[in-house]
Symmetry: C2
Subunit: 155 residues, 2 copies
């Protein structure tokens, strides 16, 4: 696994995201790392992140897939460019489209592992495919189309 | 507008959802109502629900579309059956598939209005199309495929 999480390389003004910002104290603060060609994120939902008691809330699953997807997009674009995510100008992506297929109810109480792969990098667009598993069982598939933020969008 | 929110008709054991459960004190507790053939939900994101400062977190938008979608599915199935959502056996739906297209950055600080329409009701499946707007400007489109929970799934 890479040593530094993608999100810990984001510049400060991109680090307030509820899902992945290290500076959002109310948020999920997910962390994503390279493991070969796949990006991996492990997150254990909190007790209140439920849909039906005992099962994880689908909106949380969508949030994990969303932020791990944009993180993977940034890391893949940075890797392709041969420079760090946070180097100038930094790689910052937002979601244009999010698709989640819920294959099975996801049990609460175990860490969830989300594995992602950038399947297309074209200009400012990166397509990321993801799978989310609990205890080794794949419970959801995700697909994120991420677009690089224009440099003048955030000061 | 209908007087009672769909979610306030859910039985107690289906009311702990992080997105829409009236009994989840940490959750969003969204409320959905009929307005003619459309279901409407208004939600004002909290200050920490941000992606980039000033703009709403996409995972929250996905969560709103998810829960308003399953709520609309339950209400549409109940309406078609000619009996209340909470009457026995109650109408309870989960999400099989969620699609969100983010059309514009969604500004923080104003109420978001999500309008939904059940475009297909077939057996235990309901397809819901949604749009989310801020200050009258549509910022996201959503599509939820909701499936009725088997009666023996939740005791």
């Amino acid at each position: 696994m890479s040593e530094t999480a993608f999100q810990d390389e984001y510049p400060d003004n991109f680090s307030y995201c509820y899902g992945c910002g290290r500076l959002n104290e109310h948020g999920l603060q997910i962390k994503s790392y390279w493991q070969g060609d796949e990006a991996v994120c492990v997150y254990t939902p909190r007790e209140h992140h439920i849909a039906i008691p005992g099962f994880v809330y689908g909106g949380l699953i969508a949030s994990l897939i969303d932020c791990h997807g944009t993180g993977t997009a940034a890391a893949a674009a940075a890797r392709q460019a041969g420079r760090p995510i946070g180097s100038e100008p930094p790689f910052r992506f937002v979601t244009a489209s999010l698709q989640v297929d819920y294959l099975k109810p996801t049990p609460l109480g175990v860490p969830l592992e989300i594995r992602a792969r950038a399947v297309e990098i074209k200009g400012r667009k990166v397509v990321v495919e993801e799978s989310l598993s609990a205890g080794g069982v794949v419970c959801a598939h995700g697909r994120v189309i991420a677009v690089q933020v224009p440099e003048n969008f955030v000061s």
